[in-house]
């Protein structure tokens, strides 16, 4: 089972070409971070993965089915996308109603709804806020509400668009735990992020994008120790890697324990 993008391009209705001929395969159980500067095509690419964007040419195949043959609503059941801006997604009066919306729409039993909501709410760490209007919550918490509203559908793939924006230490810890738990429960997790510390600490595969294409795809070590890729995608080495570089240490160090061991 996988998401496959084969030679896909995407042109917006106004003629703006956002992606040119990209190919990539995301396999089951992977943890993938997509990085690169604004305008590189990151969000356009992941919106092809959940059917919000259908490629202008080429194909996107999800678990063997071409997205051209399916409606976005059907695809969204298996590929959940959490918008960068929670306000693009929230439309209910209370956090509980927002999270229950999908399972109620699909007419699950009350018991099933309760189980799913409890699971989603626990992973997102928002047990305290169920009765509150989402718009009375601060931005970073609203983001967790939208994440829970996607988890509740139990998609096989979850795409988190800039989840760390405005998050404090506690929020970052919830995100890390959530990603671990989702992977354990068989979910493939993708993220788009500008936060390289988040990427290196939580994801095993990094896809670097620039100029409407994928310019590199590999392990964190392969991406963050390739100066050409960093310059082209306009991303920075995580700070421990930067320190290792300034100390002229070899071994493509990215993590604190590696660095301590080396010194």
């Amino acid at each position: 089972m996988s998401i496959e993008i084969n030679n896909a391009s995407f042109t917006y209705p106004n003629g703006y070409v956002a992606l040119e001929n990209i190919s990539v395969t995301i396999k089951d159980g992977e943890r993938v971070a997509i990085v690169g500067q604004n305008g590189a095509g990151k969000t356009t690419a992941v919106k092809m993965m959940n059917g919000l964007n259908k490629p202008s040419s080429g194909d996107v195949i999800i678990d063997g089915v071409n997205t051209k043959d399916k409606t976005t609503a059907t695809i969204a059941k298996s590929v959940g996308y959490v918008f960068q801006n929670p306000d693009d997604q929230i439309f209910n009066q209370t956090v509980r109603a927002e999270i229950e919306y999908m399972p109620r729409y699909f007419k699950f039993s009350e018991k099933e709804i309760e189980q799913r909501v409890n699971y989603a709410v626990e992973l997102a760490g928002i047990e305290k806020f169920l009765k509150i209007n989402p718009y009375d919550l601060p931005f970073p918490v609203r983001k967790f509400v939208t994440i829970a509203a996607v988890i509740v559908s139990k998609p096989k793939y979850i795409i988190l668009d800039e989840p760390t924006a405005g998050q404090d230490k506690h929020g970052l810890e919830i995100l890390s735990k959530m990603i671990d738990r989702l992977q354990k429960d068989g979910v493939t997790v993708l993220t788009i992020t500008h936060d390289m510390e988040f990427a290196v600490n939580n994801f095993h595969r990094i896809i670097a994008m620039a100029h409407k294409n994928i310019i590199a795809d590999g392990t964190p070590q392969e991406i963050f120790w390739n100066d050409k890729v960093l310059a082209e995608a306009r991303i920075k080495k995580p700070i421990i890697g930067e320190l290792a570089m300034q100390l002229a240490l070899d071994g493509n160090i990215l993590f604190c324990d590696e660095l301590v061991a080396k010194l």
Binding site: A165, H194, C256
Partner: protein
């Protein structure tokens, strides 16, 4: 001189049960750069709202204790007059641009015009600020047609042109990409050199470590830790209070645990590099 004295300040927003600020006593001295960090919901923005006078003039609620700005109790300040003393750059600089002025020059000049500053003086001030923020070449452009980074500079310029002694900057980079973040910090670096009193709320702890003189860690409406940047950001206890610690400081503590202590816990990349090099040299001799 912008001096803020808070004595046993407690505050509760209207229609809420919990106190947003609890017994805060702190003095902000002129010319210093303060970093306010800590968990979300810990009272960081509320503290900014109080100092800017939005509490109690705009947000009513219950305010106890003394908040004194330049010798005058916050309750006795006129909000308009206070705005000539304290500039407030909101969480999202994009919302700050008025959208009603056709050129960058007029956008930046708007605040001064409203204060009735003479024309020649406005021109001089606006040109100086535009030079400082490297937007001189854009003064005839329409603010709405600029890139994100450029707009940000314009938003900052319109606050800086007011030449207030104090600036409050609330999470200016939370929604920005790394290049936009660097643009903002370049502006903040310029402001630091101008001897203004600056209060910066920010989660990007490595940036805070680089620029601030003093750090205030807020938790549950109170001040959990406060003091010189090095002392606070090198102290692992701030993490228990819900604040982030610079990666290189965590590295410093890990070195200590591994029996390879550095002379000082570093809080910036350059300090960490220097500390490790020093340790290597000391071990050679």
């Amino acid at each position: 001189m912008a001096k803020i004295e808070l004595k046993n300040v407690t505050y509760k927003y209207p229609f809420t049960r919990d106190f947003a600020l609890k017994d805060i006593t702190y003095t902000f001295n002129p010319g210093k750069f303060y970093g306010i960090i800590g968990e979300n919901g810990g009272g960081k923005t509320t503290l900014c709202n109080l100092i800017r006078g939005l509490i109690p003039h705009f947000y009513k609620g219950k305010l106890k204790g003394d908040a004194i700005v330049n010798g005058i109790d916050i309750r006795d300040w006129d909000l308009g007059e206070l705005s000539a003393q304290i500039g407030y750059v909101f969480e999202n600089p994009f919302t700050q641009i008025s959208g009603i002025k056709p050129t960058v020059f007029e956008e930046v000049a708007m605040g001064l015009e409203n204060l009735g500053v003479p024309k020649e003086e406005i021109i001089e001030k606006v040109m100086n600020v535009c030079k400082l923020l490297k937007i001189e070449e854009l003064i005839t452009n329409n603010p709405n047609e600029l890139s994100g980074g450029q707009r940000q500079r314009v938003a900052f310029a319109s606050i800086i042109s007011m030449d207030t002694e104090m600036l409050i900057i609330d999470e200016p980079t939370s929604q920005l990409d790394p290049e936009g973040t660097e643009d903002v910090f370049e502006i903040i670096k310029t402001l630091k050199r101008s001897d203004k009193t600056i209060l910066l709320v920010e989660h990007k702890i490595d940036m805070i470590a680089e620029y601030c003189d003093e750090i205030i860690v807020m938790k549950e409406g109170g001040i959990a830790f406060a003091g010189p940047t090095h002392e606070i950001l090198g102290n692992a206890q701030i993490m228990e209070a819900g604040a982030m610690m610079p990666q290189v400081a965590i590295f410093g503590h890990e070195m200590q645990k591994a029996g390879k202590p550095l002379a000082v816990i570093p809080i910036t990349l350059s300090e960490a590099t220097a500390q490790v090099k020093k340790r290597r040299e000391d071990n050679v001799h």
